[in-house]
Symmetry: C2
């Protein structure tokens, strides 16, 4: 199986000004192609450091991917450093110059800045990888059967290069050697990783053949990733993954379909022709934001209210002030009244309400920081749940929004709970 080393270039990465998300993008893309990343290195904007890292990469791997330092400014040194290392003189490529000029004229008026022409310099014998999303093209250079690929560091442009020209190059030059893994994701929420792993390990067969299992936890839940790495028959891989998934049967309470719980809720709403409205206190708009992150959510999301103040809960959602005074804003009664109040206010078929103490202040011995009540109303049915969530303000808010979405999903999809 071919292996990949990644070199990311930039002082801002070493200083910690920028988090190196490119490295993860490349790791996923190359792993899925079957040429996994075995090491990566980050160096600053200095030619000797770039050259040393690329040379180490070529000694260790079949493919070295370098990102960053291909732009037009003086601190962009990658192109020149790698050309020198591989003894490939740089020549201006007329076709690339033409494209740079055309792109500049389409977006700007004024004189074409000459420093842009550096981006048209191509090492001798290199392939030019077209960059549909930006100016600097990628460059691919063969060196004794191994490859060095230079790519732009702008994430949007990098994604386009990985999905297009880099993918095509890798498939072409490593033909017959690639072993793309087959993944199957099972998404869960509302269950701690340790408890989930107990349940999963107890239910899965001991004999798992070529299947590897990874737990991928986040504030929103734990994804299970089953992977078949080896070059087994596609049907056999499918059978193995199917067997694993079938064994998980009774995780139904925690599972949902699709990439993200909002996608699952959207599917359930679209399937049932219902619309949704939200009332939020401690999550302060996070739930509405997540729902509307999804393009097309206007088809089923009518709107939401953030009722931070008690008076707003009474005025807008019709929460009974007597109840508020008696049991407090963080209570089952208020969560229920918020869910039904939201549905009524927007004329929606379903409503969801969240009220809690996100912290850091506001906790009491009876209701410590992290105490949250949430409720969902679907037609006539109203269900409320509560938890004391661990973590800081952000963690409590993320977990609360996810828990409310999960309850709504179970009610809409008819999962027993």
């Amino acid at each position: 199986m071919p292996s990949t080393v990644v070199v990311t270039v930039g002082d801002e990465l070493l200083l910690g000004d920028t988090i190196d998300s490119n490295a993860a993008r490349i790791g996923r893309a190359l792993g899925d192609l079957g040429a996994p990343v075995v090491r990566r290195e980050t160096v600053g904007d200095r030619a000797p450091a770039i050259q040393a890292a690329v040379a180490r990469g070529l000694a260790d791997a079949d493919l070295v991917i370098v990102t960053g330092g291909l732009g037009p400014t003086p601190d962009d040194l990658t192109r020149e450093a790698v050309a020198e290392l591989l003894s490939r003189p740089l020549r201006s490529d007329p076709e690339v110059v033409e494209k740079l000029r055309a792109r500049f004229c389409a977006f700007s008026t004024g004189t074409f800045p000459e420093n842009n022409l550096r981006q048209a310099m191509v090492p001798e014998g290199a392939r030019v990888l077209p960059n549909a999303r930006g100016t600097a093209p990628g460059l691919a250079i063969e060196q004794g059967g191994r490859w060095v690929v230079l790519l732009q560091g702008v994430p949007r442009e990098l994604d386009g290069m990985l999905a297009g020209p880099v993918r095509e190059l890798v498939i072409e030059v490593f033909a017959g050697r690639l072993r793309p893994p087959v993944h199957r994701f099972v998404r869960t929420t509302g269950i701690a990783e340790s408890l989930l792993s107990e349940k999963v390990e107890a239910r899965l067969p001991t004999e798992r053949g070529p299947v590897r299992l990874a737990y991928l936890p986040s504030l929103r839940g734990v994804d299970l990733r089953f992977t078949v790495d080896d070059a087994i028959d596609a049907q056999e891989a499918k059978d193995w993954l199917h067997r694993m998934e079938a064994a998980l049967g009774d995780l139904a309470d925690y599972r949902f379909e699709g990439e993200d719980l909002v996608a699952a809720v959207a599917g359930a709403l679209e399937g049932s022709g219902r619309t949704l409205a939200a009332a939020e206190s401690c999550t302060g708009g996070l739930l509405a934001k997540r729902l509307t992150d999804r393009a097309g959510s206007s088809a089923w999301f009518l709107g939401g209210v953030v009722t931070y103040a008690d008076r707003a809960k009474v005025d807008q959602l019709g929460v009974d002030p007597g109840v508020l005074a008696r049991v407090g804003a963080v209570s089952e009664e208020v969560a229920r009244a918020m869910a039904t109040g939201a549905a009524r206010l927007f004329g929606a078929g379903a409503g969801v309400g969240i009220t809690g103490i996100a912290g850091p202040g506001g906790g009491t011995p009876e209701k410590p920081v992290g105490t949250v009540w949430w409720a969902a109303a679907v037609g006539e049915r109203v269900v409320a749940e509560t938890r004391v969530f661990p973590g800081d303000r952000e963690a409590v808010r993320e977990r609360s929004a996810q828990a409310a979405l999960h309850l709504l999903y179970r009610m809409l999809s008819g999962t027993p709970s």
Copy 2:
């Protein structure tokens, strides 16, 4: 000046399952201490790869920081691999064992899992760095005047280690050699990086002495970071930075004080004793979420509405249906009515409204995707602004929320606009 190499360990980093935010944390912390990171490397959970990376680090730098692979499970190999590389036999440390048992008993019932005892194994001659936020302590080993420090990979625990024991160790062992830089940040928003840089470069003196300037762009704006690296007198450094900042004077339209624009708005609201309410369409709760990310926002944020549907704009905010029909929801009139409507609905002294087309669908030739109107109402004064923002749905939403906060900030703080 001492230099640092960072080694992060974990298959999940190479696979791209996890973004390596630890590397950025360490880069910032060591840079600020004056022992900057000159290179970093990421390797998988394999002893030879860990050993090769640490050996390369010791050849290049005074300090090698290794994170990840210190936990209790079988794929945690860092401790054993480094101990072997440096020929330091591992011995169980009774004090660490005692702490592990005490921590376990405080949080759990049941039998103490024996695999936890691996975390009490200490290489001969190593210092134990206490981890107040977790189980595995850090380990620091001197090798010929250079140091290898092993740290937990959990971000919360890592932060605690960097701010406490690692900081103390670095100050102690590199005493007299550290050159902590002095930073000064100037935050801007509402101006493109290229235009900002033109303005800044035209205004700053050509002679900048020891000062370096970095532009740190994000969807929310561009931060300018002025840094004095050299070991000049503290007062002289201060004078230089002051001279630079004074030269920026007429950037007032784009500047704000504090880490984040929400902090600046909060300060202006608290200063003027006003409260705030928000009405959002295309941002769908993002503005309310950002306001309520801030602990203590309940003191001045009364609430918000997400009026995705036109009917909700009419029913809840009192937007005139005739105006909606004539000029459409994405218009100056509707933005103004949303801002004043939000203030009225919640009884707040200030209101903000945002309406736009975040995409990917919904654009027309007259109002393409990215068209956004926002308005702020402070007392009797109402101001509206518009832009066609570039970028995808997320970018348009982030930029819209930031633009609305910026308008509100200027109105509250009396900046001419």
